[in-house]
């Protein structure tokens, strides 16, 4: 049983600041009977701040661990501002999981290329955890993350740990950087030239600003990467998460329900159209 119509009570068991405006809340159900909640990497929850409202937040942790669910959140509005003030022991409502996650089945036996920009790295965390946990089922793992400024990079330690693992390559890019930036200074698309892609045996998953995703798709197709092996996670205003409130419509799809993860051919007609 998942929690769809009305939220369920959770408690904050850990809280950390990732940057000045990004923080992570790790939640645990207070009802210990609630054992059936299960999510797929790439899905999201609606988090409820008491008396204020709900926001859609992707689920970071691998649900197989400890029944703890981490959510990395940027302060951008009333609800997220309020959530940022909560501490360990405070309560948060949760509905979920919602949407269609990353195509794990299609990635089996293949190399996986993860391209993320800004806070787009958060929705990809669960897939990276999943791949590392089931390492034998997947080929090489490429993790590409781009930020505007090198100081915007979060999860730095995590990237360092992953980079040290066999068959994992981490490449970071910052549009502008300060001294000692270990990554590339420039566009994330330029990182694609630094890795040894097997274009016919790789599944690409990307999440980030749409401009960055469009540019990445363009560069990938120049490299003869097949369009149908590219998956993107999109974001729009979401209030109900069940395809009823109408805000996240993207042509004939509700991003909350048919997405947020789409194959590139499924959405390419509208991805470049302003107003959708």
């Amino acid at each position: 049983m998942n929690v769809i119509d009305t939220p369920i009570d959770t408690k904050i068991v850990a809280r950390s600041d990732e940057s000045t405006d990004i923080f992570t809340l790790t939640l645990q159900f207070t009802d210990t009977e609630e054992k059936n909640y299960a999510f797929q990497p790439g899905q999201f929850n609606m988090l409820y701040l008491f008396g204020v409202g709900e926001v859609p937040i992707s689920i970071l942790s691998n649900g197989e661990d400890n029944r703890l669910y981490a959510h990395t959140i940027r302060r951008v509005g009333r609800v997220t501002d309020g959530l940022s003030l909560l501490q360990v022991g405070d309560h948060v409502g949760l509905r979920g999981p919602f949407g269609r996650g990353w195509p794990l089945d299609l990635a089996q036996g293949k190399d996986v290329l993860i391209i993320t920009g800004g806070l787009g790295c958060a929705p990809s965390m669960s897939i990276i955890h999943h791949i590392l946990k089931h390492r034998k089922n997947f080929g090489r793992l490429f993790i590409l993350q781009g930020v505007k400024h090198s100081s915007d990079l979060i999860f730095k330690k995590q990237y360092e740990q992953w980079a040290a693992l066999p068959n994992v390559q981490v490449a970071l890019a910052a549009d502008s950087s300060q001294p000692n930036w270990p990554g590339h200074t420039g566009l994330i698309t330029e990182l694609l030239d630094q890795i040894n892609l097997d274009v016919n045996n790789t599944l690409c998953m990307m999440c980030g600003p749409e401009g960055m995703m469009r540019a990445s798709v363009q560069r990938l197709t120049q490299l003869h990467f097949p369009e149908e092996a590219i998956y993107l996670s999109l974001e729009r205003n979401m209030e109900c998460a069940i395809g009823h409130c109408g805000h996240c419509q993207f042509g004939g799809d509700f991003i909350c329900k048919e997405g947020p993860v789409f194959s590139y051919p499924q959405i390419k007609a509208l991805l470049n159209k302003k107003g959708f």
Binding site: I4, D5, T6, P7, I8, D9, K11, T30, Y48, F50, G51, V52, G53, E54, R74, V76, G77, G89, D90, H91, G93, E235, R236, N237, E239, C240, I242, G243, H244, C245, G246, H247, Q249, G251, G252, D253, F254, K257, A269, K273, K274, G275, F276
Partner: protein, 378 residues
Amino acid sequence: MPYFLAYEQLNDLIHALNALGYRCLGPQVQDGAIVFDDLADAKQLPWGMRDAQKPGHYRLQKSELNEAFAWANGPQAIKPLLFKPKESLWRVERDATGAFTFKETLPEQKPIALIGARACDLAGMAVQDKTLLQGKYVDAQYRWHREHLLIIAVNCSYSGGNCFCVSTKTGPKATSGYDLALTEIQNGFVVEVGSDKGRDLINTLHCHEAEAAKIAAAAQRSSDAANMQTKRMPKDNSRALRDILMNNLEHPRWQEVAERCLSCGNCTAVCPTCFCHHQTEHPTVDGDGSVHAREWDSCFTEGHSYIHGQVVRDTTEKRYKQWLTHKLGTWWDQFDTSGCVGCGRCVTWCPVGIDLTEEMAAIAGESNVVVAKEEKDP
């Protein structure tokens, strides 16, 4: 077999509904428009009233007929009764430890019997059923209202200037979704039964079966209403409009219509199928509880497409394009039907008289005017 309900029996019908525990709603004139409100006596019905409708125009006038349903439609359909403008979804209580208890809120009200729904209104309800009732997720509040609504439809004997339900195949005669359907003829109504609830109701009224002449007269009324329509949706509102629209996203007409559109959202408020809503929060004054509710939203507002620091549809052109491509186009992808039922309300209640059939005609290159009236078999 259809029955005949005489004008004198209308009050019996209202009383029978009340006796069954229904709050009875029916059409009546309020503030210059025909709206649905509590109906205690048949005298309240809009006897002799007729609506003159044109793009951006609605005026009531006395017709030569002293009939109760000689009008086409008012600003409301059934939508405000089922998908209410405001409705609570769930409430939360916070205990002394800070823990939350959430509880779904269902309506607490008498069941409603609605007299006077039109075929297009029933079609609109069927479209909303697909959105809120028949998909992967069910809207509990909508379902409650739906299960507690009895519908006495009245078939149109007149079409307004903006009606085009013939081309959308949703009227003027109701074919499903009603408990009883009435067609007004001389001195009363031919009554068709659409459900067991409707049959039980008509049985309490001791109506006679309608003779053949009355049935023929009723059929003639529906046929007259159909032949009166001067407007049509290009491509008969078919799925073909989807590709026509999506292949013409750069058509110059979008910019042209955007210069007229006020982005006010009237069209979405009167549309019987528009379902966009936003969610609101209403904390109690003691600080220990809160109600989570929804209220109608419109894709014509800036906030509709707001996403952290960015508005996806920041111009009227983008918003009108979203509305029309969705209503007539991508609605097919989502619900296997058009989002338009041919009621013409968005045309009538648009303050600047934008006519979606005309906009569609400009893009599809096919006329929205009925040229030759076809003779239709009753």
